[in-house]
Symmetry: C2
Subunit: 227 residues, 2 copies
């Protein structure tokens, strides 16, 4: 259909979601001085099956050597490039309560192409504070900051009630990628990506499985139950 092969090259969402995990495993290996790795070894380090890993990597290109494996540095670089981590992405965090505060200090944000360049909060008591070396600015500055600093990714760490309003302003200011920590659904126009992290949702999913284990143990007490 499309002539341009790069335009066609659609990497499946499930694969994209695993690339950061592969990259993390490769970084670990590199730090341990390991220069070459098989799909079997890398898959184990990333917590997947080797067939899935090879299938995933095949979407990026052919960076392995049959009979040998993958060169750690090369593969790490190719995944980084595919994920867009060879560029620099300016990030703004909106809402600096406990969670926003922790995010601003989170080392995983600073590394790998992300730069937290702006912190914004509504509360006059928080505005002016320095967190992780960055001054917290008032919400009024949002549009100016987005333009001047060229914010690519907005992190929303406000209460749910304010999240949609903040999101609307970020989008109006040209931000097309949103990471939402507020426990609510955000509606955005086409072309804007939202990813949601809801800490209590994860706990609830665990509770579901925990409950099933408790029920199963009660139903079939074949082994002794851990006290």
């Amino acid at each position: 259909m499309t002539a341009d092969p790069a335009a066609r090259r659609g990497i499946p969402d499930a694969t994209v979601a695993r690339l950061p995990e592969y990259l993390r495993a490769l970084t670990d290996l590199a730090e341990r001085g390991i220069t070459s790795v098989s799909s079997e070894e890398l898959a184990t380090a990333a917590g997947v099956r080797s067939a899935k890993l090879r299938k995933d990597l095949s979407h990026l290109g052919s960076y392995g050597v049959r009979g040998v494996g993958y060169e750690v540095d090369l593969l790490a670089y190719e995944i980084s490039r595919e994920l867009g981590l060879t560029q620099d992405w300016p990030v703004a965090i909106v809402g600096l309560g406990n969670l926003g505060h922790a995010l601003a200090n989170y080392s995983g944000f600073v590394t790998r192409g992300f730069r937290v360049v702006a912190l914004l909060d509504h509360d006059p008591d928080i505005v002016g504070q320095h967190i992780a070396g960055v001054a917290v600015r008032p919400m009024d500055d949002l549009e100016r900051v987005a333009e001047v600093d060229g914010i690519a990714i907005g992190v929303i760490a406000t209460p749910a009630a304010s999240a949609q309003g903040v999101c609307d302003r970020l989008v109006a200011a040209g931000v097309r990628s949103i990471l939402n920590f507020a426990p609510c659904v955000l509606s955005v126009p086409h072309g804007v990506d939202v990813r949601k992290v809801d800490l209590s949702m994860e706990l609830q999913i665990l509770a579901f499985h925990e409950q099933r284990k408790a029920l199963a143990a009660r139903r079939t007490p074949l082994r002794e139950v851990v006290r």
Copy 2:
């Protein structure tokens, strides 16, 4: 195959992962005084299509009324029960750096059946501090705490290097559900559930899509690019 229908009733993982979102939407509706909702309305509030919502709910039972919709309170209760939130789950948080600190104070953890009953840290400077009304205890207390308080869910918010060790001790102490915030893969025996939340992974997935949007805009400059 199995005689017991409850044992057979396998709710798909994808459905379980959405139940907390439905529950959140229902709680919002209830707070706004809305007592009845159609699948179309609830689906919009939860950010999914109505067909998917109805399919998901059909796995729990038949709690709607044809031609009318769902009673908000009833459905919220049934989902809560299915998720195991009508019980009380004692939670321990290990590692009280910035993130662990934020988690201990996170209101989403306190509500809905979860009780943060224990905080543990390795650092003598942190041990003894009170966070969200709970005293931080030394790591040596882990096994005692797990038994005495009956910890059901362990939250790991330590650096990656310590995470597997902490996980092993939690599992040995009888904890079968782990929420891992450390950026590493944990290996656990069969019967133990691990869910992982990696904040930087989410950013990386956003960066991938952001990069594609930038490339697409460059390739086909049909509309003006937001400056």
